[in-house]
């Protein structure tokens, strides 16, 4: 085939492109993925019980602050990573910031807390449920995000996969936070932090295979 032939073919009956289509796709994936994770939480473990008695909304807010800040930075990064020539290098460092802050806060609250209470602060009541639920709730968001990213043209597939995994993990953790009965900062740092990070690592591993174009 001659290249001129191809150029003729590509420019015949050219369709105009609407701006902002790509961003809309990404937002859709986040909304659908988040809603799916939340529904899965409602139908499996359910909302946190005993809300009236010993519920401390401060801790739910803290968990959401961690997960939502990750989702925010991650989504902004994905919007750049799905476009060739924009690697979002400046923004990339901010991904680590929520992890850093939550780990510092966790260590501080252990240091200032009673050593007797450390076990309960770290393992809480339901560490095993947390361990299962966050990755499980992250599956649908991850699939939705990969679907959206494939509509773009990511050129750094490992990094894009990692951020997609991280955002999916954070969406899973957001859903789980509405069930989570464990109110301690070390618990958030260890379990939320590690599991969301793990989702990112899995995304980095399988991203290149899923995102190739």
């Amino acid at each position: 085939m001659k290249t001129d032939q191809l150029i003729d073919m590509l420019s015949t009956n050219l369709e105009p492109i609407k701006e902002g289509r790509l961003k809309k796709t990404l937002v859709w994936a986040l909304v659908v993925g988040g809603a799916a994770a939340f529904c899965l939480m409602l139908t499996t473990v359910g909302l946190r019980t005993g809300v009236a008695e010993d519920f401390l909304p401060g801790y739910l807010a803290l968990k959401l602050l961690f997960t939502l800040s990750l989702i925010g930075v991650g989504a902004a990064l994905l919007e750049r990573l799905m476009r060739p020539g924009q690697d979002g290098r400046k923004l990339f460092a901010f991904v680590f910031l929520p992890f850093f802050i939550v780990v510092c806060a966790g260590v501080a609250s252990l240091v200032f807390g009673q050593p007797m209470a450390w076990g309960r602060m770290i393992f809480g009541m339901q560490w095993a449920t947390c361990l299962l639920c966050i990755p499980l709730f992250a599956v649908v968001p991850f699939v939705a995000l990969i679907w959206a990213l494939r509509k773009g043209a990511p050129t750094n597939l490992t990094r894009t996969g990692a951020i997609a995994g991280l955002v999916a993990g954070a969406l899973g953790a957001t859903a789980y936070a509405f069930h989570c009965p464990d109110d301690s900062v070390p618990f958030i740092a260890i379990w939320y932090g590690t599991l969301v990070g793990l989702c990112g690592a899995i995304g980095a591993m399988i991203g290149p295979r899923l995102l190739r174009w």
Binding site: I7, M9, T12, N13, L14, E15, L22, P84, G85, A153
Partner: protein, 187 residues
């Protein structure tokens, strides 16, 4: 041709193309094909591959530019966008053909083509044969709209599909074509 001086021109052509200007778009692709050819030839000569492979890559990159043109952000520079696509396609080619990327000093040529290069060879791709591998619907709509030059509404009448279905079918068909070309060169 200096790249920096051509950036505003290429970008204007690209934006014209995104708004549906076929003439601007055709000029853009012609200019790009020269730059891409020089870029791929330069890289391929280091791993002793010939001009036919370079032409394959030029065409693959042009199809990628076309099917992914919605990923270009009009507020950004155009050259880095094209360069990232060309670089991605070249690395993908190396991976598929199992050339050790460590042997190829890719970053030694950071700019996208400092000169133009006109085509003297054809690619190894056979458009008719590739089209034959598409689904009948995609093949038909691409034939009508992209090769015969029928308008979308004419093609819709002839194929008994709605206009939006024709558009979707052409878009998917071109993407499938890009996929076929990638697989073709896996060997």
């Amino acid at each position: 041709m200096d790249v920096r001086s051509s950036e505003p021109e290429l970008r204007a052509l690209m934006i014209g193309g995104l708004d549906g200007g076929a003439a601007a778009y055709r000029t853009l692709l012609q200019k790009l094909s020269g730059q891409l050819r020089a870029y791929f030839k330069g890289h391929l000569s280091r791993i002793s591959r010939g001009p036919v492979e370079a032409e394959d890559l030029v065409q693959e990159a042009l199809i990628a530019v076309h099917t992914r043109r919605h990923t270009y952000d009009r507020s950004q520079l155009f050259t880095p966008w094209v360069y990232a696509i060309a670089r991605y396609k070249f690395l993908d080619y190396l991976r598929r053909t199992k050339v050790n990327a460590a042997d190829v000093p890719i970053d030694e040529v950071p700019e996208l083509a400092v000169h133009d290069d006109s085509a003297h060879v054809e690619s190894s791709l056979d458009l008719k044969r590739l089209l034959a591998e598409l689904s009948p619907r995609a093949r038909q709509t691409i034939q009508y709209v992209k090769l015969d030059g029928l308008s979308v509404s004419e093609a819709a009448v002839r194929s008994g599909m709605s206009e939006s279905a024709v558009k979707v079918s052409v878009h998917r068909g071109l993407k499938a074509l890009a996929r076929l070309i990638r697989e073709e060169k896996r060997s």
